[in-house]
Amino acid sequence: MRTKLFTAGFAFVLVSACGSSSSSQAKNQSANVINGAAAVAAAKPLTKDQAHAVMHERHEGMEDVGKQNKVLRRELTASAPNLSVVRGATATIARHASEATHWFPAGTGPDLGKTGAKPEIWQKPQDFGVKLHNFQVAARALDAAAKAGDLNAIKARYADIGGTCKACHDSYRTDMHH
């Protein structure tokens, strides 16, 4: 009897803990990408210096996107979000998202230097292009929602963009330690 009670108690804790998990997976945007491969195709090969410069800009940009995302979560879960802080963050993310079109030219992979970018980016340019495009669309939508100022809409678009980050990072980024 005691044994059963204890076991049931422990099982209850674990099941309850798991049951209330809520994931903020955004629905995949059905992107109409005219030229998905454009993001990763280079018109002409980059020099080593140019490639390193792109990788540096990419790293700093992505890091900033992550940081702004954290700022956003702090504001959006606060009891009284500061809209001007939210708008600053969404504008910065939208700017980096549009810059990202030029962040993945061929020759800026792990062969050249330390990067979280996986070689698969250049092996599956079509799929990568779609995922990058989804992120860019989500970033613009988030920024537009922030400008409009409806908190519920901002939170929904914030969840969407998180899904696009994760979709790409799960496939195309390695664990980075810096």
Partner: protein, 215 residues
């Protein structure tokens, strides 16, 4: 020698669930299941809170006051001059270290968040993103300390088994071990006290998950 009770069910369940959840936490975070990783950490928090309380009001071998000993007793034990059941004075140091490092790991995890800001421990919002960057490094470093202690723990069990001929794993499963009767007996705890501890541990964990709101 006759077999007698050494570990009660709460101690054994806590032990094996901790082992399983630490393994699961490692696996899940290495395989992009950060949400599972976080819930696993919360479950570990619940277990640690339960074990902490059971360490004060549980069975005799579960209580810290009964097994945490000073350096003199450790020396006596090393001389082969110690009698008793449950954790030896030396083993107690290992238990304390494992408990504290696991608690530190969970504590750091509560304030941690990933590079992207997509996943965060329930208390991460209390700190700035720059601070959680440092927490992330500590959470990673502390895991290697925990891994080292687990390695030492397993090595000690193998040493007792292979060199000293003492089986430690089976008693942690069955709760019974062959002991010299003169070493004393385990005094069991009360099952309803265990349920109260569990309910409290659960309530505190839920409060932490909710972001530790103050009234």
């Amino acid at each position: 020698m006759p077999k007698q009770r050494v570990w009660d069910l709460p101690v054994r369940l806590t032990h094996w669930l901790l082992a399983a959840l630490i393994a699961f936490s490692w696996w899940s975070v290495k395989n992009d299941h950060v949400d599972w990783h976080i819930w696993s950490g919360i479950a570990i928090l619940t277990l640690l809170l339960f074990r902490l309380m059971w360490g004060f009001v549980g069975s005799s071998t579960a209580r810290f006051a009964n097994f945490v000993r000073g350096p003199k007793q450790v020396v006596r034990y090393l001389r082969g001059d110690w009698r008793g059941i449950g954790h030896s004075p030396l083993g107690a140091l290992s238990i304390l270290a494992l408990f504290l490092v696991t608690a530190a790991q969970v504590g750091l995890g509560l304030f941690n968040e990933d590079d992207d800001g997509l996943f965060a421990g329930p208390l991460a919002n209390f700190l700035s993103p720059d601070t959680t960057d440092k927490i992330r490094d500590l959470h990673e470093t502390n895991f290697y300390i925990l891994l080292g202690l687990i390695g030492l723990h397993v090595a000690a069990i193998l040493y007792y088994r292979l060199v000293r001929g003492k089986k430690l794993t089976k008693p942690m499963i069955t709760g019974r071990a062959a002991n010299d009767a003169s070493a004393g007996e385990m005094r069991p705890g009360k099952w309803w006290v265990a349920l109260i501890c569990l309910a409290l541990a659960f309530a505190i964990s839920r409060w932490v998950v909710a972001g530790a709101p103050l009234p």
